[in-house]
Symmetry: C2
Subunit: 453 residues, 2 copies
């Protein structure tokens, strides 16, 4: 656990050694850095931005404590003069960013920092870590929400998330994209997310008989019992749950539902539905868990599985089929001059930029254009908005429930063909403005002539 | 960020609702829960345990604060009497566990909790989250260390880790298994891990000329400069770095090395070695980064790449090819009676257990036997040791550097055929004792007769 008292050292060493060398050489003019995803991972066709609120909090509070500076001194890498400089360090730059819940695409800048070089450099590691992970999860969760249609999803990933911080962020990102809640109690408390739970096999195992376990749980939670039926055999378990449901009905109570957690979900859910219906429990829901992601959800629903809600765990919580994005934070301008990197396979778009989104008459997103920051394209909506000005946070993150509503609205404007969870459909069109293209070509040529021997 | 003040709510809701129902029904006899990995993920043939220190800290500090209880009350799930019970909750059970850095295998218990049922239940989510993630990373990192042979590895994964907590734990787990250090400064401070860094493309881009950037950095860090050469072109960059290395030599300084970060690593490293050697820089090292994992390391080394050290980032830091383990925490005994789960594909081993490891005459691990806890097998070493007794921590986690040495020693006893990073070799033999097998069969039969309609 080790709660982190101060985030300033949450950085790669090279951010600080570069800063020391910049500082020693008087290199601290205004720089622009751009954050973007270089390539779609396998099967992804869009992304959903997430994590800005954490970045703003970090920028606001960023300072090196005496303890931090003492540690840095002890490493032997840094001169006293530079450590004195860090003592007074704070972020005083500008940031433009897309709001959380924005749908975005490959190569599009989603956050740009304009600040003295050292400030813009030192924040790199935290920015990428935060936005990369949360956007990756929001994207994965949005794919699950899309596949589920009108069925409901709950985040069950806590135990298999990559650490505690991940579990918290997964609960938040998945709720933002349309999950109805999470099993994570602290996330419920901290983010105001509805919390959900059923029961574990251990509950059933610890009673002498499965049915006794069901009776005990429904006595404690007469309005909130979803009985896990597969500890011994899913159909035997469903029959016992249905009997308990009947008993509850005799007392005027209502069994909320059952949970299936292993085996062939389509078949089992159809049989379970019949059993519940035959016992007069038409309103008892069938909750399913166990290895669900967008693909398994789509598959069982296409087979007419009788599932009302899914517990979506591990595969969403670690974005198992794409557990990282190729997100980069690159310097694109220094001291007024556009700069560029030409590394094999990693050429990035130069200069400070904006993204304009154009919609068709029927309201669907039609295409995006990446432009220079100061271009104005008629008819398009700019995606990046100012969020920090001279170190002051000027953007208030909306409540999570508002972000959730905004994402739902935005996502409805993305045509289904671009939401495909397979690779069979066309890519959403992202163009580059003529001015940006010209500057890009000129800058590339300049660096090729200057630097390649 | 949101530092977590108190970990008691780091749990799935159902742990608490089950606890409430246990409590209401007087179900709080002694239970034994067992933590193990159900199946090898693709390509894994062994695991490395990690995370115990965090679990012990958690168990020691586990309590519900007034704020926690207030939140739980606000959810409406819980009766006042149960919340009063939680107010005085603390962990008072026993824990047996394998030390961090232990090599273990599919189905082997690596941690067992013996405690009143409610206590053993409530800690489930945190235990799995902590041990699952850290063991997964330690396993992935050990595979990289094995593939690298005598080459050195540094953890460069921070930016792509799944959150902040993950980045800290990855630095620790990879160091424990043999990485020489990390780029993560806070992990350096918190865990005493050596920190390493080179430079980023932005450093090069922000100077008017690549060579100026190299000169500036080596002036600031005359003993610690690894120059990144691929911002524009790896060979042009290497030539400029070599020239700077010659200039340094004239001042009696020594260029530490160069870093390659893109392109064909085998070819580029061979060419770069020649360039450096031709400039009299035989001691300048070649550091390589960019998509390395055990497979890419093995590949380039088998092609005779001239690489001295690897920065291993994303793919290790998220265990990209196996981003979760199928780790489970199952009740195996309640009130003296062995219990079992029979769910399709998920049958677990009943009762409290021990693992004995047998070595052959040449010192290599030969096979393991999973036994009942109270069995004694002559000639084998028991892997699980008592770490908590009646709520008191009785095991002191050794310093990380000692764990690292212990792991190195232990790993040397695992034959290379079991360390293969492919699936082509035999599995390490894990047997089940006759007594355990008999009890398992009897218990399975009992539950089949009793519960399956």
């Amino acid at each position: 656990m080790n709660p982190i008292k101060n985030p300033a050292l949450l950085t790669d060493l090279y951010e600080l050694t570069m800063a020391a060398s910049y500082w020693e050489h008087g290199m601290n003019q205004e720089a622009v850095f751009s954050l973007f995803v270089r390539h779609y991972p396998d099967k992804r066709r869009y992304f959903v931005s997430c994590g800005l609120a954490d970045v703003l909090k970090y920028l606001k509070n960023l300072k090196f404590t005496d303890e931090d500076l003492e540690y840095l001194r002890s490493t032997g890498f840094f001169k006293s003069e530079f450590l004195s400089f860090l003592e007074h360090f704070k972020f005083q730059g500008d940031v433009h960013a897309v709001p959380e819940g924005t749908v975005f695409f490959e190569d599009e800048p989603i956050l740009e920092v304009t600040a003295p070089l050292i400030q813009a450099q030192i924040i790199e590691t935290f920015l990428i870590n935060t936005i990369n992970f949360q956007s990756m999860i929001a994207t994965k969760a949005a794919r699950c929400v899309h596949a589920a249609g009108d069925k409901k999803l709950v985040d069950f990933s806590f135990r298999r998330c990559q650490g505690i911080d991940a579990a918290m962020k997964v609960a938040r990102a998945s709720y933002m994209t349309g999950f109805i809640g999470t099993s994570n109690v602290l996330a419920g408390k901290q983010y105001g997310i509805p919390i959900y739970g059923t029961m574990a096999h251990s509950f059933v195992s610890s009673f002498k008989k499965e049915k006794e376990a069901f009776q005990a749980f429904s006595q404690t939670f007469p309005e909130n019992s979803i009985l896990l039926v597969d500890t011994y055999n899913s159909m035997s378990g469903t029959i016992k749950a249905a009997q308990v449901g009947e008993e509850m009905a005799e007392h005027g109570e209502q069994l909320k539902g059952i949970r299936l957690d292993s085996g062939n979900m389509t078949e089992l859910s159809q049989k379970a539905r019949r059993i519940l219906d035959e016992h007069g429990l038409k309103d008892a829901m069938i909750f399913a868990s166990g290895g669900f992601d967008e693909h398994k959800i789509q598959k069982v629903l296409s087979q007419n599985a009788k599932i009302d809600s899914f517990g979506v765990g591990t595969k969403m919580g670690v974005s198992a089929d794409a557990p990282y994005l190729d997100m980069a934070y690159k310097i694109v301008k220094y001291n007024g001059e556009p700069v560029i990197k030409l590394s094999t396979g990693k050429v990035s778009l130069t200069s400070d930029k904006q993204v304009f989104r154009f919609s068709s008459d029927d309201g669907f997103y039609d295409h995006d254009v990446i432009t220079l920051r100061d271009e104005q394209l008629t008819g398009g909506s700019p995606l990046l908005v100012p969020v920090v000005s001279e170190g002051q946070i000027i953007y208030e993150s909306p409540p999570l429930s508002d972000m959730r509503a905004c994402f739902k609205e935005a996502f409805s404007h993305l045509d289904d063909k671009y939401k495909s969870i397979h690779k069979d459909k066309p890519l959403y069109p992202v163009k580059i403005s003529k001015k940006l293209r010209n500057l890009q070509d000129k800058t590339e040529q300049k660096y090729r002539n200057k630097e390649i021997l």
